[in-house]
């Protein structure tokens, strides 16, 4: 059987009118009539994504101002230019991804998991090229401190990003949480690059970049938990009725 024949069967099957009762349509109309007033559409994607990049930059700068700009001072010009421009570009891409997650029917070029993999992979590649000190002193103690510091700054970024896009509507909250976490993780990583002067390749590749997937996982988990709580409270409300 050819594809065209299947098309014909599908069209013939769906051709019949799908009738709805006038009562149902009237009920729908009545339910929205009372609260109908003009609304302002969401701003364009570029504006919201730009806002997210600014939030990331602001949080990273505030963090580094408090903790010190030791990392950026120790870097050479090439490292500074490549790392900062890459972080801004990735924050822009992830920001667009987050905006698309918050606007129903948006075009998606990569799944959130793929976006996370691309962001992390690119950073692994870049840092492998730029950091050539292969010593591993204080690997765990210094690493965990950096990971926690990065996450400490990722948390307010996620909150601010959520506030910026609070008028949006996530059709898949877990995906939206994952992308929000990726954006926030980039802010945490940015803060670490400005502040941390430990340039050992293993430290930067493992603990600095780990901020992004850990933050993304935390974002997805929080969204999942919030959704679960909302579902439970809805169920309880229905049961009480």
């Amino acid at each position: 059987m050819k594809d065209e024949e299947i098309d014909d069967v599908l069209k013939a099957t769906a051709r019949g009118p799908h009738v709805l009762s006038a009562e149902t349509l009237q009920h729908v109309s009545d339910s929205i009539k009372t609260s109908l007033r003009p609304v302002r559409p969401l701003p364009p994607t570029w504006l919201l994504a730009g806002g997210l990049v600014l939030v990331c930059a602001a949080v990273a700068l505030v963090g580094a101002t408090r903790a010190g700009f030791y990392g950026i001072e120790k870097m050479d010009l090439l490292q500074r230019a490549l790392i900062l421009s890459t972080l801004v570009a990735l924050a822009w891409v992830a920001g667009i991804g987050f905006v698309h997650e918050m606007v129903p029917g948006s075009r998606r070029r990569a799944a959130p998991g793929m976006l996370l993999a691309i962001v992390s992979g690119l950073l692994v590649g870049l840092f492998s090229l730029l950091f050539r000190d292969y010593q591993t002193s204080d690997f765990f103690s210094a690493g965990i401190a950096c990971l926690l510091t990065g996450l400490l700054f990722a948390a307010p970024t996620a909150l601010l990003a959520w506030l910026l896009l609070r008028r949006g509507f996530a059709v898949n909250p877990v995906s939206a949480g994952l992308v929000a976490g990726t954006v926030a993780g980039l802010a945490g990583l940015g803060m670490l690059e400005l502040h941390c002067q430990n340039f050992q390749a293993a430290h930067v590749l493992v603990w600095h970049i780990a901020v992004i997937p850990v933050s993304a996982a935390a974002g997805a988990f929080v969204a999942w938990a919030l959704r679960l709580r909302a579902s439970s409270s809805d169920r309880e409300r229905v049961t009480r009725k």
């Binding site: 059987m1 729908v28 559409p41 969401l42 129903p104 075009r107 509507f169």
Partner: protein, 188 residues
Amino acid sequence: MPADSNLEILMAQYQQGDFNAAAVLIDRLSPQLHRFFVAQFASRADADDLLQETWLRIHKVRHTYRPNEPVLPWFYAIARRVRVDHYRKSGRTTARQQALEEMPTIAAPISAESGRLDDLAALLAPLSEGEREVIEMLKVEGMSLEEAARATSSTVGSVKQKAHRAYKKLRKTLSATAFRKGHSGGPT
């Protein structure tokens, strides 16, 4: 003027608080949204509830539609979310049991006597949830691959893959039907 751009204009007017535009949108889109729910194994009563819930949600988040963007993916993306929430609320087990109980009545794929496909839900019964919604959007509602991808929050490649798998299953089912029809209708 194409029908879709009319919908976009109506949606923009709805955002500006025009009740007539909202009423026209409700009249035009409700039947296809209702069919979308029925094709996903919702009972008629469930589909009525889902439709009302979808319009309430659409009304609440109407500011998230951006003028000049395709309107159907926006509606279907919200309808999908409402359907998922509905099954989540009613509990996964209950929903699955219900779906299984309803399948023999609404999803008997092929009428054995006539070999004719009774309705869309029956025809799409052998497909997975994702394949069903993609086929419905592409072949019944006439959406493009790009629009179906937007509505399902996936990539065009993923939609193509689901459509390909769905056609494989449909070909198998329809060929079996044609075989049975030929077999029962042949000389005894």
